[in-house]
């Protein structure tokens, strides 16, 4: 099995405070891993460190992404190599329209791999098909990126971008937060449609309910900056029953 993501003993600081303290995790192609954990355990920090957001200091350990040293890559290089971060709070960018962002992103990736730019017509057909899957109205295409979108619309838009970009590894940071059950199902359907033997998904979530719809291969509990416990999908149910305190006590 090829490992897509290999995190070894990762430590990182956010705002001068150590948040990740020796985290290790290996995610192989074809796998879906869920990372669960209480608030403040370092879940979002992990996702931002992986995507390369400024403001985080790596204080120890290493991360390999598809065999490359992740921290030697700029955020845009990580994305073009196949990493995708689904934001917990997608950013509104008025004035940059949604379809332009999608196209610029796809073309940046194609350029990096020596492919010609996408055909405008075919691209639009593809985006339309994916929007249908995400139950998004076509009017979203011409609107500013996330501009005036509701919380649920923003999350769908994240998944739409993911479907269009077809990343090797999707890191989804609390994509389920703020979604009602119908929207959750739509988002889950989008994620599931991307599952394949070549891809991996790292689902970061606070609640177990997302995992009823996107069934993970592995579940990890993040506590105090490291993986406190790992197991199969049944671990999520156990957590739901016993609460995070149970893991914290054990840890």
């Amino acid at each position: 099995m090829t490992s897509l993501l290999k995190i070894e003993n990762l430590s990182a600081k956010a705002g001068g405070k150590e948040v990740l303290k020796g985290l290790s995790l290996t995610l192989n192609a074809g796998e879906v891993h869920a990372i669960m954990g209480p608030n403040g355990s370092g879940k979002s920090t992990l996702s931002y460190v992986l995507a390369g957001r400024p403001g985080y200091e790596i204080t120890g350990g290493k991360v390999e992404f598809m065999g490359h040293d992740l921290f030697a890559m700029a955020p845009e290089e990580r994305a073009r190599a196949g990493m995708f971060l689904g934001f917990q709070y997608p950013v509104e960018i008025p004035g940059v329209n949604n379809v332009y962002l999608l196209k610029a992103a796809v073309n940046a990736k194609r350029k990096a791999t020596g492919q010609p730019e996408v055909d405008a017509y075919e691209f639009l057909q593809l985006v339309r098909a994916k929007m249908k899957l995400m139950q998004m109205d076509e009017s979203f295409l011409s609107r500013g990126v996330n501009e005036g979108f509701s919380g649920g619309e923003k999350k769908r838009n994240e998944i739409l971008q993911m479907l269009v970009l077809e990343p090797a590894l999707a890191v989804l940071d609390e994509t389920d937060s703020g979604l009602d059950i119908d929207a959750l199902k739509v988002v889950a359907r989008g994620v599931n449609s991307l599952r394949s033997a070549e891809r991996g998904v790292l689902l970061i979530t606070h609640y177990q309910r997302l995992l009823d719809h996107i069934v993970p291969d592995h579940v990890h509990v993040l506590a105090r900056g490291r993986i406190a416990r790992s197991g199969g999908k049944e671990l999520a149910h156990e957590l739901e029953r016993r609460g995070y305190d149970w893991v914290l006590e054990v840890a």
């Binding site: 845009e76 960018i93 940059v96 332009y100 992103a105 990736k109 990126v145």
Partner: protein, 395 residues
């Protein structure tokens, strides 16, 4: 001898007057107009072309506008000087120099309920040492007239031309003037202008101004909402790259009840560019129920870039609505990271965000053919065109 303002004068603190002061104050001498490349004509617009302040094209067939000798036009120009303008003092010095030195005036008088579309190109080619160009436009829109006016200042790349333009407009009751103004002179030019508009009852003056070229530019605008329910919509966009300075002083006077102002400025200063927008709104005693909104924003993207956006309000009555906001900031880190996380190259991402910032002020320009020209010129100043190609094509 009329003295130029200096940076010690209150409303000129941010202006760069040196290039203008260095040029010869004489009008550029009459000569055979040099061959210049003109932008494609705008469909449906009557076109006039002036080179170095003098008519270079023929008079268009069936023209609405006509050319006047500056001596004949002088009185008409002065007639626009109401009390507030007369007291403007040094702020009006450049207009007085224009009136004293210029030779030709393009006079545009629209009769009652008439409508017209006119494009005027002012092209500067002469070096400053051989004189200053004094373009001058007069507009009278009679009752109910509608005018779409395009005023473009262009120039020879590399020439340190000096331009001192003056425009005065009078809008009678119910008139509508839509005025698109583009300063896209050569990068070494000095472009100065003074604009006076007198807006009558229920008349509407829409001014969309875009400043891109020139080493130093300064627009001095005096707009008087003189009649009940007169309206002004002022939109200004500026991009200052390298060591460019763009400075706008806009005074809008609410001198009648129910008058409305909508003012929007978006400016980007990169490298060591400097921007200033001084938006002064005066609400007179009788201008009750007047309503003004100002939104002034500048974006700095260079370590040596500077911007000063100043809203100023002088209100002499109660019962008014006056909203204003001014911000100066840098590119939003979160927006930038979001775009990078999608694989978009950093320069493209920065260009996109700059475009998104200024787009508000550019998208209102009409006609669409001119807007496209401006959009391309703006994008070219923000980033390499290729990486932003497709951005301008609306889906």
């Amino acid at each position: 001898m009329i003295a130029l303002p200096t940076q010690r004068d209150e409303n000129w603190r941010y202006a760069n007057l040196r290039p203008l002061a260095k040029a010869s104050v004489e009008a550029v001498a009459q000569r055979d107009p040099p061959a210049v490349e003109l932008p494609p004509p705008l469909a449906g617009f009557e076109r006039w072309v002036f080179v170095d302040g003098r008519l270079s094209s023929g008079v268009p067939a069936g023209a609405v506008a006509r050319l006047l000798d500056a001596r004949t036009a002088g009185a008409a120009f002065a007639a626009q000087l109401d009390d507030s303008i007369a007291s403007a003092g040094v702020d009006f010095a450049l207009a007085r120099i224009n009136a004293a030195r210029g030779d030709e005036v393009l006079h545009l008088a629209l009769p009652d309920s008439a409508s017209a579309s006119v494009e005027v190109l002012f092209i500067a080619t002469a070096p400053g040492a051989s004189g200053t160009s004094y373009p001058r436009l007069q507009v009278h829109a009679a009752r109910g007239a509608r005018l779409h006016l395009v005023e473009r200042h262009l120039g020879t790349q590399g020439a340190d031309s000096a331009v001192n333009a003056a425009v005065d407009l009078a809008l009678a009751a119910d008139a509508m003037v839509q005025h698109a103004r583009v300063q896209h002179a050569g990068d070494s030019a000095a472009c100065f202008d003074t604009l006076v508009a007198h807006v009558g009852e229920r008349a509407c003056y829409k001014l969309q101004t875009v400043m891109l070229g020139g080493l130093a530019s300064r627009s001095t605008l005096f707009i008087q909402l003189a009649g009940r329910a007169a309206r002004c919509e002022l939109t200004a966009a500026a991009v200052a790259n390298g060591i460019q300075t763009h400075d706008v002083f806009a005074e809008i006077e609410h001198a009648a009840p129910d008058t409305v102002t909508r003012e929007l400025f978006r400016g980007i200063a990169t490298e060591r560019g400097k921007l200033a927008f001084n938006g002064k709104i005066i609400v007179r005693e009788n201008a009750h129920e007047s309503d003004s909104e100002q939104s002034l924003k500048s974006l700095l993207t260079g370590s040596g870039a500077e911007a000063a956006a100043r809203p100023q309000l002088e209100i002499y009555t109660d019962r008014v609505r006056a909203a204003h906001g001014a911000t100066t900031g840098k590119l939003d880190d979160q927006m930038l990271f979001y775009l990078l996380s999608r694989g978009i190259e950093r320069p493209t991402a920065q260009g996109l965000l700059q475009w998104a910032f200024i787009e508000d002020a550019v998208s209102r320009v009409t006609p669409a053919a001119l807007r496209e020209v401006i959009e391309r010129a703006v994008v070219k100043r923000l980033s390499d065109v290729a990486s932003l190609d497709g951005l301008l094509v609306s889906p």
